[in-house]
């Protein structure tokens, strides 16, 4: 009784012949490379087994050409099918190299429990896990904020340990080096505010009040907020990535075991730099925004430069700037806390560093917007 299968596609393939009723002779010929497509071994064996009660499989590879892992995966499939169905696989006919590698692959049996079993978690369990996770991260955040507060107190007492040169470097990084982008963004924000206002105010012939609109909006709100968001994206992410990489390299562990507090040594100078620079950047952004508004007013609304200047000057007082500067200092704290927190919480892989940077930006922006809303309400109530 013979049975031919899968013999059509030259120049490679196999011929399976049933001999002696219970033995399958598999002849392999041509090349057996990984990208040659062919039927899975299991299917072939199943087809054969439907017709004959197999006990043994033998191989004939005298006509076989080049081979690589493609052949080995095929043979491994046959092997697992054989163990499953109690068939004896006689590997005598295989080339020596194949036989040796196959023995190597089969030397250590597959560890069944090593594979993570994908189990479906019910919704309630997920909600529970999320809640627990949320509680845990909140606790972590609180304890980090506590550590930062302690470090700040130590700094005021003059006993905090960090390097002045680090502080100067961070001041340069988040101060002077942020100027170009702050210039661009706030100039454009001033421009946009002026445009939006101009369209409405022109209907009443009150276009001179564009100056008030831009000046107030920039000084009280947009200057601080735009610098905050820029710094969250630029510096908060950088802080998180720096500290995260240090976490991965065990550098933070090295600080801890040296008895050097990483919060004092790493977090404090970063926070201090940002808190010192943010108000300055905010004032600069206010000025740029007002210039942006002036460009629109002078260019489009036939307001003279002197008129615009006088109108701006009369609409502003120091309290307005004070509000903006105060907010920006708060944003500075929040952005640096978010960045450093995510960096210190970072896991020990390169993808964790990416997650930390992303999370630092998201957390920073949420902190900024929420705190801004709260502060605006408070300032309105107390009438500043």
């Amino acid at each position: 009784m013979t049975d031919n299968l899968a013999t059509t596609d030259e120049p490679h393939g196999l011929k399976a012949t049933v001999v002696n009723l219970d033995t399958l002779l598999v002849e392999l010929y041509g090349s057996w490379q990984i990208n040659d497509d062919r039927q899975p071994a299991g299917n072939i064996l199943q087809t054969v087994q439907e017709k004959a009660d197999l006990r043994k499989i033998e191989f004939d590879t005298r006509k076989m050409g080049a081979w690589n892992s493609g052949l080995l995966t095929f043979l491994l499939n046959i092997h697992s099918y054989c163990t499953e169905h109690n068939i004896e696989m006689i590997r005598k006919g295989l080339p020596q190299g194949v036989e040796r590698i196959l023995s190597l692959a089969l030397a250590v049996p597959e560890k069944k429990d090593a594979r993570g079993d994908v189990k479906k978690t019910p919704l309630l369990e997920k909600v529970g896990a999320w809640t627990l996770d949320y509680v845990r991260t909140s606790a972590e955040m609180l304890s980090f904020i506590g550590e930062v507060c302690v470090a700040c107190l130590k700094m005021f007492k003059g006993s905090a340990r960090f390097r002045m040169s680090d502080l100067m470097l961070f001041i340069q990084q988040c101060g002077a080096q942020a100027l170009p982008i702050v210039t661009l963004i706030s100039l454009l924000v001033g421009l946009i505010l002026a445009f939006v206002g101009a369209v409405q105010l022109q209907m009443f012939g009150a276009q001179i009040y564009v100056a008030n609109l831009v000046a107030l909006a920039m000084a009280r709100e947009m200057g601080a907020m735009m610098t905050g968001i820029i710094m969250a994206g630029r510096t908060g992410a950088a802080f998180a990535a720096q500290l995260g990489t240090m976490q991965v390299n065990e550098e933070i562990d090295a600080f801890k075991t040296m008895g050097i507090n990483p919060v004092e040594f790493l977090v404090l100078p970063r926070m201090l730099a940002l808190v010192l620079m943010m108000p300055l950047l905010c004032l600069y952004a206010d000025l740029m925004g007002i210039i942006g508004g002036a460009v629109v007013s002078i260019g489009m609304l036939d307001i003279s430069a002197v008129e615009y200047y006088n109108q701006t000057k009369s609409s502003l007082n120091l309290a307005h700037f004070g509000v903006g500067v105060f907010k920006s200092a708060v944003f500075g704290v929040l952005v640096s806390v978010a960045g450093c927190l995510r960096g210190m919480q970072c896991g020990r892989s390169s993808s964790a560093v990416g997650d930390a940077a992303t999370s630092a930006v998201v957390t920073g922006i949420i902190f900024i917007i929420v705190s801004d809303a709260v502060m605006t309400v408070i300032f309105t109530i107390i009438g500043i």
């Binding site: 990489t245 390299n249 065990e250 550098e251 562990d253 090295a254 801890k256 075991t257 008895g259 050097i260």
Partner: protein
């Protein structure tokens, strides 16, 4: 030495990440002047044990005693004192990447000693010379090779003349000659400074050459299965896992 004798005593220690137990019921002692080897197959928790010993991770159960003080039950001040008496060389070196080698070595000196700048410079030169890195003071960690980073990390670990030195895989990634030199250096440090050394490694050559006490962690049963001098273990221990580890899997042939 007039300081109290440092001796680490691990008592019924169980290590776990959440519910996942890494190793349980570890009990062993590290005597003053020992070169103590923590060995075992990959993934058995050697480095985790080290993190427990140096106070980076709290045990799930059990105690780590430094002298008579239980590290996790004592005050933070006392903990800091213990931590300051130990030096650690991490697996990846863990040099502070934003500082030069000289700054890396001098940072602990500046923090915890009252030496003048000139004295610190001399000390840095000494420590870097000891590990064969004199002249590399102004290099950043990223500018030197992996082996050099390891040696620089050792120089930093030695900065404060610690009583106990910990090494996490010191010879991994080193060529045989450098690894041998590092072994000699460790022996020399122990003999001349009277330091106690704890090494996580699976380098057999180092284990037999310098270790005089050890603990063997088994990943299968998740506990220690042997302890004692590695050479004695090789001669006497009948446990198949230990034998096959210490003989590179040739135990069956020898018996």
């Amino acid at each position: 030495m007039q300081k109290p004798v440092p001796k680490i005593n691990v008592n019924d220690l169980t290590m776990a990440y959440g519910d996942f137990v890494i190793q349980r019921d570890l009990t062993f002692e590290i005597a003053t002047g020992d070169i103590f080897i923590i060995m075992g197959g990959s993934g058995c928790g050697k480095s985790t044990l080290l993190r427990h010993l140096v106070g980076l991770k709290a045990p799930a159960k059990g105690r780590v005693l430094y002298g008579d003080t239980s590290f996790w039950e004592t005050s933070p001040g006392e903990q800091e004192k213990i931590m300051r008496s130990i030096g650690i060389t991490y697996q990846s070196g863990a040099l502070w990447s934003s500082l030069t080698l000289a700054e890396n070595v001098s940072l602990p000196l500046k923090e915890f000693s009252r030496f003048s700048d000139a004295q610190i410079r001399e000390l840095v030169f000494l420590k870097l010379s000891l590990v064969g890195l004199a002249g590399f003071e102004d290099f950043y960690p990223s500018e030197i090779s992996g082996g050099m980073q390891k040696r620089a990390a050792l120089a930093r670990a030695m900065a404060l003349d610690p009583e106990i030195l910990f090494f996490d895989e010191p010879s991994a990634g080193l060529d045989p000659v450098s690894a041998r030199r590092l072994d000699d250096l460790i022996l020399e440090l122990r003999d001349s400074l009277g330091a106690t050394v704890v090494i996580v490694t699976h380098e057999l050559a180092s284990i037999f050459a310098i270790g005089n006490n050890s603990v063997f962690l088994d990943p299968e049963t998740r506990t220690m299965i042997a302890t004692g001098n590695p050479n004695t273990l090789l001669a006497e221990c009948q446990h198949p896992t230990v034998r096959s580890f210490l003989t590179r899997g040739e135990a069956e042939v020898n018996i």
